[in-house]
């Protein structure tokens, strides 16, 4: 069975057809909290890709020695170790962003995407496909983060990555930033719009 895994599908499915955020509805908390600006959203996305890929590989390597009763604790400890490394690295090399992300780097541990992929994929597959699955799902997650972050920063602050994009002449003509976009509830509505667009393009995903 292990030989028949389609690596390409494992890697590319999470981008759209099986996206962890908008199809499997995992890891929503951080999508809402860190996407008010584009930059923290990208940093968060990269952190999750790294943690997910390595956690998948490690769990996949030791999958045959973990007793089923305590597997959740083992998985959490592996993930927590990796998250601490990411947290310390960010504090050392990107202190401002790490301040903005505050508790949400720590909350990567309880990001359901991690537990979901570890349980569903890494526990049953060899390290290489597990690595591809981790990177694929991480990118699928980061993709949504970046889209949401892009719209919220553009409409909410008129900037992208901290640079102003909405020209001054617009403001002079009466254009006003939409302050509501900065508030966390609007992230939910932006995600809902992404779900709407994606499901009208892909009829298989619609619910009754």
């Amino acid at each position: 069975m292990a030989d028949k895994i389609n690596y390409k599908q494992v890697f590319f499915n999470p981008f759209s057809k099986n996206n962890p955020v908008v199809v499997q509805i995992l890891g929503i908390c951080s999508v809402l909290a860190v996407t008010a600006k584009l930059e923290p959203a990208m940093v968060m996305g990269m952190s999750v890709i790294a943690v997910l890929a390595f956690a998948n590989v490690i769990i996949s390597l030791i999958r045959n020695t973990i007793p089923t009763n305590i597997r959740i604790i083992v998985q959490l400890v592996v993930v927590a170790g990796l998250v601490v490394i990411v947290d310390q690295l960010l504090k050392a090399y990107a202190y401002d962003v790490s301040k903005q992300l505050s508790v949400f780097i720590g909350l990567i541990i309880t990001n359901c995407i991690l537990m979901g992929r570890l349980e569903a994929f890494a526990m049953a597959n060899r390290p290489w496909p597990a690595f591809l699955d981790g990177v694929g799902n991480g990118i699928g997650y980061a993709l949504i983060l970046v889209i949401v972050g892009f719209f919220r920063e553009l409409l909410g602050s008129g900037t992208l990555m901290g640079f102003q994009v909405v020209p001054d002449s617009w403001y002079a003509a009466g254009y006003v930033n939409n302050g509501l976009m900065i508030l966390p509830p609007m992230a939910l509505i932006v995600v809902a719009c992404i779900i709407w667009v994606q499901r009208s393009l892909n009829k298989d995903l619609q619910e009754d």
Binding site: I70, A80, M186
Partner: protein, 205 residues
């Protein structure tokens, strides 16, 4: 009185779902009917009430800088705070497993109604989030931690019960565009409720 204020604050103003958006995954997944939603809410409240005081004691007597000074003067400048994430999650995961075993042994009826949710709780961000907020805010005593835990738990219960009730009605009485059915409309309702809950921000207690 101080602690009571924190309790009320944690339910309404610092509501885990509508103010911080923590614990959304299980919130969205298990809110299809009121009965199961309340079951999960009770379980979350229970875990918050147990783990927050334990993590508070860990934080004060083991983890924070200089906390180990009760072992002797040579430990006075040990700072283990970088380990706090691992310690907190280990406490939460092992408490979940312990509670699951205890409930299974002593109250099979409660276990069968709550059973599937218990393992889910270890990865509910609201629980770990509670501990991390506790660490950030420097609570003065273990009772404050207990009250905050109870308040956050009840707030979460309130939120999931409310959304489940709305979703039950929605399924029968409304005509939503097809691609938005199910999870899409739930996102929008949650956002609207979140905006409504923002009005509590003006209250000072």
């Amino acid at each position: 009185m101080e602690n009571f204020n924190i309790f009320i604050r944690s339910i309404f103003i610092d509501n885990m779902i509508f103010a911080y958006f923590l614990g959304m995954c299980s919130f969205l997944a298990v809110s299809k009917n009121v009965k199961t939603a309340v079951g999960l809410g009770v379980a979350v409240t229970f875990m918050l009430v147990i783990t927050l005081p334990i993590n508070y004691l860990l934080q004060t007597y083991v983890l924070s800088s200089g906390a180990l000074s009760w072992l002797g003067p040579e430990y006075a400048d040990v700072d283990l705070s970088f380990l706090s994430l691992i310690m907190f999650i280990a406490v939460i995961a092992s408490m979940t497993q312990l509670v699951e075993m205890a409930v299974e042994k002593y109250s099979p009826t409660l276990y069968s109604s709550l059973g599937i949710f218990l393992p889910l709780i270890a990865v509910n961000c609201a629980i770990l989030g509670g501990s991390l907020f506790m660490q950030q805010r420097d609570f003065p005593s273990v009772w404050t931690a207990l009250c905050a835990g109870g308040g956050w738990g009840l707030g979460w219960l309130l939120a999931i019960a409310a959304i489940a009730a709305i979703r039950e009605r929605l399924a029968t009485y409304s005509n939503i565009p097809k691609p938005l059915r199910g999870i899409g409309i739930t996102f929008i309702i949650t956002a609207l409720m979140g905006i409504a809950f923002m009005s509590f921000l003006g209250i000072k207690i």
